[in-house]
Symmetry: none
Subunit: 198 residues, 4 copies
DNA sequence: CATGAATGAGTCTTCATTCAT
DNA sequence: GATGAATGAAGACTCATTCAT
């Protein structure tokens, strides 16, 4: 079973295959719960190949996070450039929900001095203007916006990306219905907030 | 150093000490990252005492979660009974942020069929009437509300409880300021939503 | 076979058994060539017990060396106190030849900034007076003596302790004969040197 | 850094470069502590090139030892032919101290049935006549001499070659001073012995 | 002639858990 | 009621060696 993976994906190089598989396993079990053996087995490669390409389990995580934030920045750039709405953003989160999960799990650990999620805030900050238009607000205003953006927009959306599948399973609702209800809730809450700001 | 703990807290029985310490360590490192050895060391007791009182690491988690959801239900009951506002609720989350962290971390793992956070939704559901008044809405309406409540209220508040300290550290803001901004954001988003529902 | 060890030596505590066995294995294969598995097997205990008592393979070496130099100092003290001759010293080296081997092997590695053998010189230095009588020689004289003592006495004797068995095997000579010839050679070389000093 | 090696020494063929580098690394860490990877890295060549030229790590050691003993024999021949003193011999040992180290390290391992150092004795035996003149001594006399030669001459000299640098470092003495003191000690010990024999 | 990629058999170490007292 | 010692099953990582090109 695992072997199929190898043959069917042998086109892409081993490094990427490992990274992809690691993302899955990390999302499944969390970084600490993940086993290098499992990554290797799932990727259909010997464990030692992982150590040929990466320094260790840690590097796997690092590179994955780097990749995630790089594409997060890209999606935000695109969004601000072509004015594409939040549906694209939502799509991004859903497609990258594996890594999003990992980011959130690692960030929640108290001993993490700087939660990785804050890089999301940092990136949000970079695109301030595109999101809020040319503003010459002071630090306080800026912080207010950041807080609102992070806690009442980014977090719910990330939560949606991570929990929607399980929610549908558990509450026996259709994916479409959940999405509609979520979008509606977001509109009536965070959407309302943005309206107010104008 | 660890020994002080023992003497200063030896009044409370070992069982509770272990549970408390476990909560801390789980919050610090996540369940998978936590080591029974570390719990014992931090509690200043021999590791074997943990196995004397508990079946294993798993039981530690189970009991902790059970405790958390029991008090969560209590706080919701109080809230609905004496009509105390969300500040009390917020206080609860902050005080129990260690366990909240654990709940959220475990819930985020994809292989968790039923994310533990959903028990929050279940409990929310129990107090439906108290929160929304006597409603005879249909299933769809109920779901809509649940979605809104979970993703745009519970999640942001939980996130706030978990990240506020790190946020203050990282963005160099005062705890009061952050709380004020967060409360304001919640008011303008989820608060607005509740207004609409009337 | 390995199990016998456990039963026959279970009187002495595990820690010492491990240390003893480690000394043997280190002497056999050198520290780098030694396997923790082999130490455990030879001692008839599970590998994990080694890690219960010691931090790791390194600590095994450290403690062993510490022990060796401690008893080396003792033998020198005895020698200087009761004036017992070099035969006792020789006996000591022969009895501790396992650790002596380890010391010499590790010392020979070029990347060892401070060869452990030099601790022998240090200890020799401590017993200066006892060995050479009250001397008020200057630094140069002292150094001269140290060099002679180390290279033409300590080293040959250590070499004898390490190689005598193999020598007898290889050159088909009796242990007594070899010892007699060695003692004779030492007498005619280093012994002569000491005579000269008077 | 490693790359320079390649370019600056690419004249000499890879085989020799590998051998040279291996000698260094073996001397640094001992055979067991040495890593093929490190040899390759230090030589600035791909690891696989080592396996292209040699059967394995073992062969590297074998060839190196063979080379060492061959040149040892040569130096002894020269010495006996042109009557050049021990300074030339000493120079040889110093220049080949890397391999001498390896020989001594490997010889000290107890599980080595035949310590490689004994080849030194064998070679010494070959040049018996040149060293001691035409002698028709019996086996006992021969053995006596061999023992004296090995333990009170070869060993101290080898030790000097291996430890002199570290000694100077540690005891803060000049190389010249150490050499002078060592030569003096040798003269007063082993030198005295040879005088006696006449 | 040479090499980047790959690999299997180790090798050290960890950890949850149990045992004997 | 408590605990120091013990342990097996994994876990991360290493390393000499081989392969495909």
């Amino acid at each position: 079973m695992a072997k199929e993976k190898l043959s069917s994906e042998s086109s892409k190089n081993a490094r990427e295959l490992i990274l992809e598989t690691a993302a899955q396993v990390f999302a499944d079990k969390g970084f600490d719960g993940a086993r290098v053996d499992e990554i290797a087995a799932k990727a259909g490669i010997p464990k030692s190949l992982i150590y040929y390409h990466f320094k260790g389990k840690d590097q796997l995580l690092e590179e994955l996070l780097e990749m995630f934030f790089k594409s997060y920045r890209n999606i935000l750039r695109e969004k601000s450039e072509c004015g594409s709405g939040s549906s694209k953003y939502n799509k991004f989160l859903t497609e990258h929900s594996d890594l999003l999960r990992v980011v959130m799990i690692e960030s929640l650990k108290k001993n993490t001095k700087i939660p990785t999620v804050f890089r999301i805030v940092e990136i949000l900050l970079e695109f301030e203007k595109e999101i809020y238009g040319e503003t010459d607000q002071n630090r306080e205003e800026k912080h207010k916006r950041l807080v609102a953006e992070f806690f009442t927009s980014a977090l719910p959306m990330a939560g949606f990306a991570c929990y929607s599948d399980a929610w549908c399973d558990y509450f026996k609702v259709d994916k479409k219905e959940l999405y509609a209800d979520f979008a509606d809730a977001m509109q009536k809450t965070h959407g309302e907030y943005h309206k107010k700001q104008e």
